[in-house]
């Protein structure tokens, strides 16, 4: 028996804007009158470490998605997608930004960053659908490189039980007004990429 309408796990690296995606979805769900809950990482994990956020739409239970239970895994960084792939349900969708952020263990030569294909192949094998895109390039195209997370939000919009109108309305509440148009453009580019 399902205990939520839609379970999301959003992952990335500290500073990439994982929490903004969850905040927009949470606000949009509240506008839609749906119960919503989530859990996020603060503190130690923010110093360049891995960041994971759980968001459950239409849920009145615990704020964390169970292992193997995520309907969508949104990864702002490819290695992080694989690191948290165990959250994906076998029928789930993996939505991955393909632009790597090299951890300090790689830049200082203590570890190697795998090839993109080595990341995507095992990911594809364990989910229903894999969507990979260079969201960072799309954000640059929108003229606002830091809005890579909003590109991913646009790509995610069609996979969650919330209307695009509400998501955009929630987005306008969390981004500064002078960057709203650029963010909407980033959203549209992400959405177009999965259509």
């Amino acid at each position: 028996m399902r205990t939520s309408e839609c379970d999301l796990v959003i992952v990335g690296v500290g500073g990439q804007g994982v929490i903004l995606i969850s905040d927009v979805i949470g606000r949009a769900a509240v506008m839609a009158g749906k119960p919503v809950c989530g859990a996020e990482t603060h503190g130690m994990a923010q110093r360049g470490g891995s960041v994971i956020n759980h968001t459950r739409i239409g849920c009145r239970f615990s704020p964390m998605v169970a292992s193997g239970g995520a309907d969508v895994l949104v990864a702002l960084e490819p290695a992080e997608a694989l690191r948290f792939a165990h959250f994906l349900s076998p029928t789930g969708v993996a939505l991955v930004n393909t632009r790597p952020v090299l951890p300090s263990t790689v830049t200082c030569g203590r570890a190697e960053y795998p090839l993109l294909q080595e990341i995507l192949a095992p990911l594809k094998a364990r989910c229903g659908k894999l969507i990979a895109m260079d969201a960072t390039a799309l954000a640059e195209k929108a003229g606002i490189a830091v809005a890579m997370n909003v590109v991913m939000l646009g790509a995610l919009a069609g996979h969650i039980p919330l209307s695009e109108e509400l998501i955009l309305q929630a987005l306008s509440l969390v981004v500064p007004p002078k960057f709203l148009e650029a963010n909407k453009k980033a959203f549209a580019l992400g959405k177009a990429e999965v259509e």
Binding site: M1, T3, V13, G14, S22, D23, G26, R27, A29, V30, P35, V36, C37, G38, A39, E40, T41, H42, G43, M44, A45, Q46, R47, G48, G49, S50, T55, F61, S62, P63, M64, A66, S67, G68, A79, E80, L82, R83, A85, H86, F87, L88, L102, P103, S104, T105, V106, T107, C108, G109, A111, E112, Y113, P114, E118, I119, P122, L123, R126
Partner: protein, 594 residues
């Protein structure tokens, strides 16, 4: 109206709606956002909100306000209550004026802490009520209820969210801020405000006598819920109640269920559960607080009841999660457990540990410290961002706030002959390091104390402190001089350096090492995260053709330095501190005009 709120923001809303007059706290994950939200909410209702110097101070400030007739709250993380334990234990005797709430955020699994102590034990120890929320909405309602409870029983009340409540988000109902209160007045009452032995003896009896009445009142608290169904039962507390509820729903079983959110424990509800069932599982994070009580009651009510819990089903360490709870219940029922999905090919993934930022001045200070004191020296350290530098060989201990200086003293008095250079941050020094420095001076400890002064409380999110000249609400205030403090506390040699200037830092450390007494080095450079936010244009550096690939800069460990085709390269993370240029053996790193 409903809003999507962080648990800590929901708690702050609750304080506002309950008409709190004074809120004081010391930053600590996962509790910090309560005060930060309170600062944002201050415009809705006049109140005093402060970052206190430490948790003991915060609780005492809150107690003073409560005795002056204003509802007051103190916020801290679980280990902060150890610091505040002295006023905490005796406040339970003395009682309150207006309601007094202690918000103590626990951190099962040590997401951001040095231990995972269970504060419900503390509440039990002091003999005060404890409210244990399972989600942000409940935490907010409890914050309001706690003041009424505190006033009704003349006792401080603890609200104990865990990381998964403080840092959860949920849709929460928002109400109105309470009307502004009249100014408070302190009413003199030595029998209840002066803990003389003759008073304390009477107050202790009074405290013990309150327990039964508090328990009776909390039996019907909205967070203690009993639903009797089948003859197998679940008793769960706090967030474990949410996992259990979800599991019972998913497994579609007709189980009896007692969800507990308020302590002292509801003995009548537990007894009714025990009378009804033949088998019961107790599910709670960390300590078996509920389970022990159930064991005691079962001897009287139903000695044949099978009681399951910490023994073999529910771990006593770490945090619980849905699957763990679901599987424990399934195992009790003889149903199939759901195997957790295996991690994917993570062996090919590079680790991504949190680390000091590119350009962090702590790295430069530690580099110079290690170069002067050498590998045989002892380096007691402390609690802050700099603990992440454990790989640099300059973090030999981390115990609790301020313990670097006192451990260093003890190591010296224990007979250690090597150099001893300890380190702690500015906020940590002001929180718990000053008494240790005074003690080191008084008792003639020959050590070097390094204050890593980045002019903020960085690890917990850049809160101000007395050395910053700014209060929690952003008002200008007295800026305390750490140099003057160190001298006043008795340090013989006190020098301030800019760690970005490697030569002067090395020279200072050398003088400190040679000094025949207590020396203090203040390594001052603002936190790079704050500097970046202030939009100061950084200098630019590049690695020239002269690079010989010696990797000295790479070993320095700055994330802005990469290695490519046998040569170092500076990437976009560079903040322009220039320390790598100073350590380069081939003088290949140089500043470029921009």
């Amino acid at each position: 109206m409903r809003e999507y709120l962080l648990g800590n923001a929901a708690i702050a809303r609750g304080l506002l709606e309950a008409g709190v007059g004074v809120v004081a706290g010391y930053p600590g994950t996962p509790s910090s956002e309560i005060i930060e939200t309170m600062v944002d909410l201050k415009s809705e209702r006049p109140l005093h909100v402060e970052w206190s110097v430490n948790e003991k101070v915060a609780l005492e400030v809150a107690a003073g306000a409560s005795w002056t007739g204003r509802r007051a709250a103190a916020t801290m993380k679980h280990v902060g209550l150890n610091v505040a334990a002295d006023p905490f234990m005796t406040l339970a005797y003395l009682g309150v004026g207006a309601g007094l709430l202690l918000i103590c955020a626990d951190d099962p699994y040590c997401h951001s802490s040095q231990n995972e102590q269970d504060s419900r034990r503390y509440a039990q120890f002091a003999g005060i009520p404890c409210l244990d929320p399972k989600n942000p909405g409940e935490a907010k309602e409890m914050a309001v209820f706690a003041f009424e409870l505190s006033e009704k029983f003349n006792i401080p009340v603890m609200l104990r969210p865990t990381t998964r409540v403080s840092h959860a988000r949920a849709d929460v109902e928002i109400g109105q801020a309470a009307a502004p209160p009249r100014p408070g007045r302190f009413i003199k009452n030595p029998a209840r405000r002066v803990a003389l032995p003759s008073h304390a003896r009477l107050l202790h009896s009074e405290l013990l006598a309150k327990q039964a009445a508090m328990e009776e009142a909390l039996e019907s608290a909205p967070w203690n819920n009993l639903a009797l169904h089948g003859d197998v039962g679940i008793i769960a507390s706090g967030i474990a109640g949410l996992y259990a509820k979800e599991a019972i729903f998913e497994l579609d079983e007709d189980l009896s269920f007692l969800c507990i959110g308020a302590y002292p424990l509801p003995k009548k509800l537990i007894s009714r559960m025990l009378e009804h069932v033949s088998r019961v599982m107790i599910i709670e994070e960390l300590e078996p607080v509920v389970e022990e009580q159930v064991q005691i009651l079962a001897r009287i009510v139903n000695p044949n009841a099978e009681i399951l819990g910490k023994e073999g089903f529910i771990p006593r360490e770490g945090e619980l999660d849905y699957l763990l709870v679901r599987n424990a219940i399934a195992r009790m029922l003889g149903k199939a457990e759901r195997v957790a999905a295996e991690s994917a090919a993570v062996s090919i993934l590079p680790p991504r540990p949190p680390s000091l930022c590119a350009g962090c001045s702590h790295r430069a200070t530690y580099y110079a410290m290690r170069k002067v004191f050498g590998k045989n020296a002892i380096y007691p350290s402390d609690i802050g961002c700099y603990t992440m530098a454990v790989g640099m060989g300059t973090v030999d201990t981390c115990l609790c706030m301020g313990a670097s200086i006192t451990l260093a003293s003890g190591i010296r008095f224990g007979g250690e002959k090597e150099g001893i250079c300890c380190s702690l941050g500015d906020s940590t020094f002001l929180h718990g390091g000053m008494t240790g420095l005074l003690n080191a001076a008084y008792n003639k400890a020959r050590i070097t104390v390094t204050i890593l002064d980045n002019s903020t409380t960085a690890m917990t999110g850049h809160q101000p402190h007395p050395g910053t000249g700014m209060t929690a609400t952003g008002e200008a205030t007295t800026q305390v001089s750490i140099e003057a403090l160190a001298r006043a506390l008795g340090a013989g040699l006190v020098e301030t350096v800019d760690p970005y200037h490697l030569d002067e830092t090395l020279e200072s450390f050398q003088r400190a090492k040679d000094y025949p007494g207590l020396s203090v080095i203040i390594a001052r450079q603002p936190c790079v995260i704050k500097a970046r936010r202030s939009n100061a244009r950084p200098k630019s550096f590049l690695v020239g053709e002269e690079c010989i690939g010696c990797k000295i800069c790479l070993d320095f460990g700055c994330p802005a330095i990469e290695f490519e085709k046998d040569k170092a390269r500076i990437n976009a993370l560079c903040t322009g501190c220039g320390v790598c240029a100073a350590i380069c053996s081939a003088s290949a790193i140089r500043e470029v005009a921009r």
